[in-house]
Amino acid sequence: MTPLVRAEGLRKVYQDEGRGPFEAVRGISLECSPGEIFGLLGSNGAGKTTTLKMLATLLPPTAGRASICGFDINSQSHQVRQKLGFYSSSTGLYPRLSVTETLDFFARINGYPKARVAARVQELIEHFQLEQYRHVRVERLSSGNKQKVSIARTIAHDPPVLIFDEPTVGLDVVAALAFQQRLKELRTQGKTIILSTHIMSEAEKLCDRIAIVDSGQILACAQLEELRTASGLHYLEDIFIHYLQSNKAPG
């Protein structure tokens, strides 16, 4: 199947006034196909969020190239955004809009066909069981319902590619499990999903392929079974530590 997400040698250098140039991402390359959940597994500061923000056209890469559904992230960012749903802890909802207004806004602004917006909003409200909250402002919803609205707004314009940056951080167990269930449903619908996480169990359960990221580089990228075979270890936690230590070993 043709990969919808391609990245080749992505680099990102931040100019920090105190520290000087800081290379957050050092040549990351990856590919992701429809119906696949691709996991980016790494500790804090590994470069996951920067990589995802570059793919989402929120950050311009210093070097390298990437495309979403064939559209270049540098020169065709408008088309990229229409094909992409980006969810992260920093993409908050507009608190004073109601659930319906929120979904309607995101569908329209991201280019969903105007004539079908109302039906799409209704479909999402029913799917996420938000009927009784449709006219309630987002700021008055519970955390669980807010999270449902966040996912619904990410997929409101029915994008083929979805990026989730540490989506379950701060969620309780029940809400996290519900989220994982929704992610599986989206995979079944044929969406191309990139999931960034540092929760090993989540990556183990959800991801078809896992890329272990450290210091802005991908140390290993394969299916879980292949990683087990290559490292000779069973648990993902051990595999992760194994690659991190190999990366830090002298020479």
Binding site: L58, P60, R81, T91, Y94, R108
Partner: protein, 393 residues
């Protein structure tokens, strides 16, 4: 498509902003109620003070046999005091004025200007004695068979050429520009802080910057939002003051208020509205420049306070009536529109000068928006990392 996208963004901004109670307070409630209330308060205070002064019994010594004058003084609520040494009593403040009418040819008003009551007595007595002198002259003329003009060959005559409409517009021209400046500033500052710093405060910056729209459209939607809210507050204030001045003044000033009228000609109404639009565009551009780097409401408010002052300080030019809108003053931002409002209400402004003033204001708006664009291009984090961001390499 670009306009449609802009409209969707604008509607979202408007919905979010109008659901904030403080915005409603500053944009609608304050312009509608506060300034009419403040004017009512000021006029009430003036009215109470004047009435209090009128009620204060002023003590006057009248020397000389002038029964007509004595009756007139009593009628005007002066208290006549007997005094053996009026000068000493004046100096000690026991009496407020001494009317020396002992000479047939002369009336003399003596007072001690150190005392506030003595000054009040002088002001009220001067008018009364002027009238009394006119009556005496007339009596003398009739007694001697002479004509009044023989006794008083040089007349002083007063005539008020101002119409009630002129007086009403003069009063409106005094209040309205200052009120509009305050209201437009307040109406622009809070929404600007809300829409710029509020994005950071509510962590919706990445959400907004991740939309399939350009940075220009996002900034333009925010700019149009602030312009709209400024205009709404300006129009609310204009309507409130125009409607309320008569009803405020009537109970306080009695017949004097009925002598005032402030109907607008269509030209004046158009000039006022265009001035509100131009000033709103200027205020909105300036507030966005000030709030573009604010990460919290507190930072935003701190950044806009100097701007608020710099808008209000030039309004002191309105006090100087010799300063009018001309081809020199029309270049000065804020002052030009304030003078346009004032002069269009009082004397009228030629259409060409109105157009030049509005063009100058638009020039300033363009300049400030250019500055905003430059600041955004210099710091990518200001509104996110969309096209044109060059800060992170």
């Amino acid at each position: 498509m670009a306009l449609q996208t802009l409209w969707i963004l604008y509607l979202r901004e408007m919905r979010s902003t109008l659901r904030e109670r403080n915005v409603i307070l500053y944009v609608v409630v304050v312009p509608l109620l506060l300034y009419p209330f403040l004017i009512w308060l000021a006029m009430s205070a003036v009215s109470v003070l004047t009435a209090e002064q009128d009620r204060t019994p002023l003590r006057v010594v009248l020397s000389g046999k002038e029964p007509l004058l004595a009756r007139a003084l009593e009628h005007e609520r002066f208290t006549l005091i007997e005094s053996n040494d009026p000068m000493a009593d004046l100096n000690s403040g026991v009496v407020d004025a001494w009317v020396d009418a002992r000479s047939q040819a002369q009336l003399k008003l003596i007072y001690d200007g150190r005392y506030r009551q003595a000054q009040q007595a002088r002001a009220r007595l001067a008018a009364l004695l002027e009238d009394y002198r006119a009556v005496r002259l007339e009596q003398m003329a009739m007694k001697s068979g002479a004509r009044l003009s023989d006794l008083q060959p040089f007349y002083f005559e007063q005539q008020d050429e101002g119409t009630s409409n002129d007086r009403g517009h003069y009063l409106l021209g005094t209040f309205l520009p200052l009120c509009l400046l305050v209201v437009l500033s307040l109406g622009g500052l809070y929404p600007a802080v809300e829409t710029m710093a509020g994005e950071h405060e509510r962590e919706t910056v990445d959400t907004t910057m991740g939309l399939a729209v350009s940075r220009l459209q996002i900034v333009l939607a925010k700019y149009l939002l602030v312009v709209s809210l400024c205009c709404i507050s300006g129009l609310c204030n204009l309507i409130a003051i125009t409607l309320s001045l008569r009803s405020i003044l009537t109970p306080l000033a009695g017949n004097a208020a009925n002598a005032l009228s402030w109907g607008f000609t269509p030209e004046t109404a158009v000039t006022l509205a265009l001035g509100i639009l131009a000033m709103s565009m200027l205020v909105a551009a300036a507030t966005l420049v000030c709030t573009v780097h604010a990460r919290s409401f507190r930072q935003g408010q701190a950044a806009t306070t100097p701007l608020f002052m710099s808008i209000l300080i030039p309004s002191s030019a309105l006090i100087d009536r010799s300063l009018t809108l001309d081809f020199h003053t029309c270049w000065i931002p804020v002052v030009n529109v304030a003078l346009l409002w004032r002069d269009s209400l009082t004397n009228g402004v030629p259409a060409i000068l109105t157009l030049v003033t509005l063009a100058c204001s638009l020039g300033w708006v363009t300049l400030i928006l250019g500055l905003l664009s430059w600041r955004l291009s210099r710091q990518g984090r200001a509104l996110g990392f969309w096209e044109g961001s060059r800060s992170p390499q």
